[in-house]
Each structure stands twice: as C-alpha cells, then as structure tokens.
C-alpha cells in the first residue's frame, strides 16, 4: 500500500526530474545495459551507445511516462493501458526485466539525489516502481 504522503513525495520527485528527463532516463538505461547485458537484445534496432539520440529520446519517454503515472497512482491500470499492451503484446519483454530496470532507476535516483534519496523516499519509490511494473506485466497471460 502506498500512503497519501508517499504518493505526494513520489509525484514531487518525478515532477522535479521532468526537466532532466533525458539525462535521468538515459542514465537508467545505460545502467540496465551495463549490469544486465541481456536487456540489450530488445534494443538491437536502436543505437544505444552513451549519448546517442535514440538513447536520449527513449530515456526521456520512459521518465515522462513514469512522471505521468505518478500524478495519479490510483489510476495506473487506466493510464498505463497503452504501455501495457505495447510491452506485453508487441514487444514481449520478459517481465523479469521490469524488476532489473526498476533497480537501475533506483540507483539513478540515488546518484542524482544523493542524501535527499532518504530511506523514506527509497521505500516509496520502490513501492511505486513495483506497482508500475506489476501493471506493465499484468496483461502477459
């Protein structure tokens, strides 16, 4: 369960990251590719080298999607329906990858926010990203 205070904190953090969405998103992706090289297989049609325009624009899309979802967490199943369909039916990403990516997003936030990524923020964000991943994985079977 994500409390009201946590929802506010999550929305606040993602709103503050929107202006640097490209940086945050591409950093999180590079972390996923470096730590879990198997995830690169899904992106073989794109140039995912550091700083590339594909990487940056994809990173930005991801962060904006997460920030948008954070505005109303109780409505995730509705707001994520298109992404759910895309990941489950078209891309067919093995759902274990969502967990790996979530962990990389957390590390990105910790590096970016430093001491401000408190245990409270960490706990709230872990819950939110798990909820987000669960929704993305819901339609698989």
């Amino acid at each position: 369960m994500i409390s009201k205070r946590e929802k506010e904190l999550i929305a606040e953090i993602w709103e503050s990251l929107t202006p640097v969405a490209e940086d945050i998103g591409s950093d999180a992706l590079l972390r996923m590719f470096a730590s879990f090289p198997g995830t690169k297989t899904y992106f073989s049609h794109l140039d995912i080298s550091p700083g590339s325009s594909h990487l940056r624009s994809h990173g930005k899309k991801i962060v904006l999607a997460i920030a948008e979802g954070a505005k109303d967490i109780s409505q995730l199943t509705v707001s994520l329906a298109p992404l759910q369909t895309l990941h489950a039916y078209q891309l067919r990403i093995d759902p274990t990858n969502f967990k790996l990516f979530s962990q990389c997003i957390l590390v990105t936030l910790a590096c970016h926010m430093g001491e401000d990524f408190t245990p409270i923020a960490h706990a709230a964000m872990d819950k939110y990203l798990s909820a987000f991943a669960a929704v993305l994985a819901e339609k698989y079977r």
Binding site: A110, F117, A123
Partner: protein, 147 residues
C-alpha cells in the same frame, strides 16, 4: 567460482575505499528494514524497529549495520575465495538465524543504493555493474550452505 579481471579488482577496491563503514553500515541496515519491513522478523531482540524514526534511532540497528559492512570488507580482501570466506556465516544464517536467503539480495540492493547516495556520479553505469557483480558473489556465498 567467479574470475575477476584486474580492472574489476581495482574498481571494487576503489569503491570500497570510499565506503566509511561507520556511516554506511547503519544506513544500509536501516534501509533494509524500512524498504522491506518483513525483514523485521529476524531482529526481535533489537527492541523498537516498527517505525521509520525508531529504525533510524535504534542503536542496535546501527551497531549491527557496522558488523555486516565490516564483514563485507573480508570479501573485498578475499575476492578469490568469497565462498570459503562466508561458509560458516552462511551456515549460521541458515541453521541458527533462519534467514530467508532471498533477503541477502535485498540487503545487497540496499548496499548499492547507500553507496550510490554517497558516491553519486563516481558510481557510473560500468562501476555499478562491476560492484553488483561483486555483491552477487557475496549473496551467492551467503546462500551456499542452504541445503
């Protein structure tokens, strides 16, 4: 057994050199208890650990966090025999403490986050990958005596 390149060895040592056990240790255990509250079940003797404030102010949590991180230093010093280094500790966590080995991974993730908050841009994607490879070897070693 994991084989390490020279580059990996120096990366892991460089990260470890920047870790202040007395600072990071308490933070790591506090994060485990706050982010994954079901891990409270093992620490019945620690007194009040049932709210965020209580966890952050509990001297036993802080002290035990230092014990765990100090222990991690042994793996840094014995990178070619992490499994052997932790054999008896793994046995203790299994047979005496009854710790679910899945929680070793949760602890490892919290170590990475605490280190990231401290090192910031120095923990770049490549360094993170190497550091996590090291922690995976620790997790595997801590799980090795569960049959």
């Amino acid at each position: 057994m994991v084989k390490w390149t020279d580059k990996e060895r120096s990366t892991i040592n460089a990260v470890w050199d920047k870790v202040d056990i007395d600072e990071i240790g308490p933070q790591v255990l506090a994060r485990v208890l706050i982010v994954y509250p079901w891990t409270e079940r093992y620490f019945g003797s620690f007194g009040d650990i049932f709210t965020v404030t209580a966890v952050l102010n509990n001297p036993k949590v802080a002290a035990h966090g230092k014990v765990v991180l100090k222990e991690l230093g042994k793996a840094v010093k014995n990178m070619d025999n992490i499994k052997g280094t932790y054999a008896s500790l793994s046995q203790l966590h299994n047979e005496k403490l009854h710790v679910d080995p899945d929680s070793f991974r949760l602890l490892a993730d919290c170590i990475t986050i605490s280190v990231a908050c401290k090192l910031r841009s120095a923990l770049d994607p490549q360094v993170q990958a190497t550091w996590q490879k090291f922690l995976s070897a620790v997790v595997e070693a801590m799980s090795s005596q569960y049959y």
